[in-house]
C-alpha cells in the first residue's frame, strides 16, 4: 500500500519532467523558427515586462474569481433551495452557459471599456457558470432523508442550512470553485488578448505578431504553471474536504 503510494507519487512528479523533455526534443526536431527550446523560452521572460504582466493577469483573475465565486455560490445555492426560481431560471443559465462566450466580448468591451474593467468582467462571466450550476445541482440533490431528520428534530431554517445542507454540498462547492477558477483565468487572458495593454494575454498576442517564439513559449509555459499550481491547491482542499468518508467509500 505505502510502497504503491510512493511509486504513484514518483510517477506523478515525473510527469512535468517528461513534458519538459518532450518540449526540448520537439524544439530540437522542429527548429527554433517553430518551437523555442525551454532554455530560450525561460531566458525570454524579461524582468521589464514579466512581473508587470504577472501582476496584471493575476490581479484581474483574482478579482474576477472573487466576484464569480461570491455571486455564483449565492445565486446557485438560492436557486437550489427555491424550487420555483430554480425551475424558471435553469434553462436560461444552461443556455447562456452554452454560448461561445467570446462572441459576447464586444458587449463587454462597450460596457466596461478598454483595460481592467472588461477583462475582470469577462473573466467573471466565464467563471461564474460552473460555480453556479454545480452549487444549484448540489443543493437540489441534498439527501431527502437528511432533510427529514432535520425536520423531525424541528431545526430552524438556519440550523438546517448550517448543519445539514452546507456540509452536504461543501465538497461540490469546492469542485465548482476549482473549475470556475480555470475558466476565469481563460476569460481574463482572452480579454487581455482583445482589449488590454497589460497582462500575459496582451504580451502573448504581441509575441505572436512579432514572431517572437522564445517569448511566446515562455508566456505559454508560465500560464500552464499558474493553472496547474492553482488547480492542484484547490484540488487538495477539495480532497481534504471530502475527508475520510469519500476516501473510504471509494476503496
Amino acid at each position: 500500500m505505502t510502497a504503491q503510494r510512493t511509486t504513484i507519487l514518483i510517477g506523478q512528479a515525473a510527469i512535468p519532467l517528461v513534458l519538459l523533455a518532450l518540449w526540448q526534443v520537439s524544439a530540437m526536431l522542429a527548429g527554433d523558427f517553430y518551437i523555442a527550446t525551454p532554455a530560450d523560452a525561460f531566458a525570454a521572460l524579461d524582468r521589464d515586462w514579466f512581473f508587470d504582466s504577472l501582476g496584471a493577469t493575476l490581479l484581474a483573475a483574482f478579482v474576477g474569481f472573487l466576484i464569480a465565486a461570491a455571486a455564483g455560490l449565492w445565486i446557485g445555492v438560492t436557486l437550489g433551495l427555491t424550487r420555483f426560481w430554480g425551475k424558471v431560471l435553469e434553462p436560461v443559465t444552461l443556455s447562456v452557459y452554452s454560448i461561445p462566450k467570446v462572441t459576447l466580448f464586444p458587449i463587454f468591451l462597450t460596457v466596461f471599456g478598454f483595460g481592467l474593467g472588461s477583462k475582470v468582467a469577462f473573466g467573471m462571466f466565464h467563471g461564474i457558470f460552473p460555480i453556479l450550476i454545480i452549487a444549484m445541482n448540489a443543493t437540489r440533490e441534498v439527501n431527502v432523508v437528511h432533510l427529514k431528520v432535520a425536520r423531525s428534530l424541528r431545526l430552524s431554517r438556519t440550523q438546517t442550512f448550517k448543519q445539514v445542507i452546507f456540509p452536504s454540498i461543501y465538497p461540490s462547492l469546492l469542485t465548482g470553485l476549482r473549475l470556475g477558477f480555470s475558466l476565469t483565468l481563460l476569460g481574463v487572458i482572452l480579454g487581455e488578448m482583445f482589449a488590454s495593454r497589460a497582462g500575459f494575454g496582451y504580451e502573448l498576442v504581441e509575441a505572436i505578431t512579432l514572431h517572437d517564439m522564445p517569448r511566446m513559449y515562455g508566456i505559454v509555459a508560465t500560464l500552464v504553471v499558474i493553472a496547474f499550481v492553482v488547480n492542484a491547491l484547490l484540488l487538495r482542499w477539495e480532497q481534504a474536504a471530502s475527508g475520510p468518508r469519500r476516501a473510504v467509500a471509494a476503496r
Binding site: 439527501n143 425536520r151 428534530l153 456540509p167 475520510p244 468518508r245 467509500a249
Partner: protein, 249 residues
C-alpha cells in the same frame, strides 16, 4: 396515553392514502403497524411525526417524537459519536454532557469502539444502529420507526430486531413500529395493528400474547407459528387487493 390519533385521513391530490384511522399508544407500549405495500403506513407515520399535515382528524402526541427512517440517515460528514450527539447539540446540550450521553447510547446499541468511525466505514446494519442511537439519546416520549430494518438482509434483521427488543426492555421506550414482516412484529410488539389496502384503514388490532422478554429463538415456538398464520390470514386478502390495484393502474 402518549399518542392518540382520532379519525385521521390524508389525501394527496385525488389519491386517498389514509382513511379514518384512530389509534392510541400507551406509555411503554410497543405497537406495530403491518399492512400491504402502499397502504399508507409511512404516510401515517409522517403525520404522527409532524412531517406532513393530515387532511382531517386530530393527533395528540406528548413531546417531540423521535423518528428512525428506513433509508440511510446518518450524516456521512460526522463520526458515529457526532451523529449520535447531533440532536442534543442542536437543542443546546453542552459538549461534555452530550458526548457522555452519546457514548452511553452507542454502547447500548452495541457500537462500542466505533465512536470515531465515519458511517461509510460501517455496514448497513451498523449505520442503522447509529440512527437508532441518535433517536434514543433524545429520550423521546415516543419513537416512530418506519421499517428501520427494511433495507437489511434477513439475518441482520433478526439480530437487530432482537437487539431492539433488548434496548426496549432496558429503556422502557414507547414505540410505534412500521413493518411488513410478521416475524418482526411478533418478536417486538405488544399489539399489532393490521391495515387494509389503500385507502389505509385499520382492519384489526391483534394483541400479542407471547411472554416478554423475547429473543429471536421465539420464531421456533409453535404459538409464534400459529400467530404468524393468523396475521397472514388477515393480510392475505388485503395484499391481493393491493396487488390487483397496482395492476389496474
Amino acid at each position: 396515553m402518549v399518542l392518540t390519533v382520532e379519525h385521521l385521513s390524508k389525501t394527496f391530490g385525488d389519491v386517498e392514502a389514509v382513511r379514518d384511522v384512530s389509534l392510541a399508544v400507551d406509555e411503554g407500549e410497543f405497537v406495530s403497524i403491518v399492512g400491504p405495500s402502499g397502504c399508507g403506513k409511512s404516510t401515517l407515520m409522517e403525520i404522527v411525526g409532524g412531517l406532513i399535515e393530515p387532511t382531517a382528524g386530530r393527533i395528540d402526541v406528548s413531546g417531540m417524537p423521535g423518528i428512525v427512517f428506513q433509508q440511510e440517515s446518518a450524516f456521512p460528514w460526522r463520526t458515529v459519536v457526532e451523529n449520535v450527539a447531533f440532536g442534543l447539540e442542536m437543542t443546546g446540550v453542552g459538549k461534555a454532557e452530550r458526548l457522555t450521553r452519546a457514548r452511553d447510547m452507542i454502547e447500548l446499541v452495541g457500537l462500542g469502539g466505533f465512536e470515531d468511525r465515519y458511517p461509510t466505514e460501517l455496514s448497513g446494519g451498523m449505520r442503522q444502529r447509529v440512527a437508532i442511537a441518535r433517536t434514543l439519546v433524545m429520550e423521546p416520549k415516543i419513537i416512530l420507526m418506519d421499517e428501520p430494518f427494511g433495507a437489511l438482509d434477513e439475518q441482520t434483521r433478526l439480530i437487530l430486531g432482537e437487539e431492539l427488543s433488548r434496548i426496549r426492555e432496558a429503556t422502557n421506550a414507547t414505540v410505534l413500529f412500521i413493518t411488513h414482516s410478521f416475524d418482526e412484529a411478533l418478536l417486538l410488539s405488544d399489539r399489532i395493528v393490521v391495515m387494509t389496502a389503500r385507502p389505509g384503514t385499520i382492519k384489526q388490532v391483534v394483541v400479542n400474547p407471547l411472554p416478554r422478554p423475547r429473543d429471536s429463538t421465539i420464531v421456533s415456538d409453535p404459538e409464534f407459528g400459529r400467530l404468524s398464520g393468523e396475521l397472514w390470514e388477515l393480510l392475505r386478502e388485503e395484499s391481493m387487493r393491493a396487488l390487483a390495484g397496482e395492476r389496474g393502474r
